[in-house]
Amino acid sequence: MKQKQLVYIYLLFMAFALPSTAQAMHISEGVLPPQWAALWFIVAFPFVAWGLRDLRIKSQRDPAFKLMVGLVGSAVFVISCMPIPVPTAGTCSHPCGTGMAAILIGPTLTVVVSSIALLLQALFLSHGGLTTLGGNILSMGIVGAFTGWAVFRITRKLGLPVWSAAFLCGVVSDWATYATTSFELASALHGTSSFLKMFAAIGASFMPTQIPLGIFEGVITAGIYQFIMPRRPEVVECLGVEKPQPVIESNKAEAVV
């Protein structure tokens, strides 16, 4: 119990432990008209509720699971605030960390930790906004997590090595997040002009920064996965993505003796 409380405190304090108010994919306060802001809240709500239900069920099964969820939540918070200069574009942007989180704790729980991270960023770091929280949860938490998770599962089933599956998961989840942000902005702001034209224009504006940054996120995802997998294999096994290590026959015999 004490350990759990410590992790929650850790998650809360890590919310402040960042050097600047970097902003990138987050849609800022006041940008979305009220009806669009409300729509994205309505779309995001069932996913958050689904994630909270999953968290309760999995925590009842294995209380230590909450520790990993807390740690991954901290990582998502830090990664999604980390400004990285992209020399090819002359701008700064940030990775999202939701692809990595989706591999480790599953997409539904990633929605929960992303929502908490985005809420704390909006409240304390002027990063994103309270009125645009639904839209930001949809792009980063829901689309980023589910896309990354799907890519990881499919590529593993196709027989790709773990590191390359994790790399592709990071890349695609990052690009999908920014594509969704473009969609949200275009649908809310296109006015009388063409939606498709504005969507393409916003997407194209993101590309010089996000193409290299997505590749960077893929490298981060593969690296973190390679670090965690040998130490906490049960975390990924419980998602059914990786099969448990078979017990070696000689070990079995030793156990019997």
């Binding site: 890590m14 006041g30 002359g90 993101f206 130490r231």
Partner: protein
């Protein structure tokens, strides 16, 4: 020898990237300004200031310091539980 080579490579990449970032002259604005902000302003919906604006002087730095110390302590305290040592006999 391999470790020295990797260390040298990492150092070279870090120096190269730092050189690029410092020498190239853009403002390094976030894409929210260059992309989101641009299209939002064109549509007549510029971003407004945050409802809780903590970006005042060195106040944020103070919070970062306190939170970094507390978070680092708790993270270190739980580290062994979160990342148990790798079992070498499983290989």
């Amino acid at each position: 020898m391999k470790k020295v080579f990797i260390g040298f490579l990492v150092l070279a990449v870090a120096v190269g990237l730092t050189f690029l970032v410092v020498r190239v002259t853009p403002k390094w604005e976030g894409v929210d300004d260059t992309v989101v902000g641009k299209y939002a302003e064109e549509a007549g919906r510029p971003a407004r200031r945050a409802y809780i604006d903590t970006d005042r002087g060195d106040l944020l730095l103070f919070f970062f310091l306190i939170a970094g110390v507390a978070g680092g302590f708790v993270g270190g305290y739980c580290f062994r539980e979160l990342f148990p040592p790798q079992k070498k006999d499983q290989a």
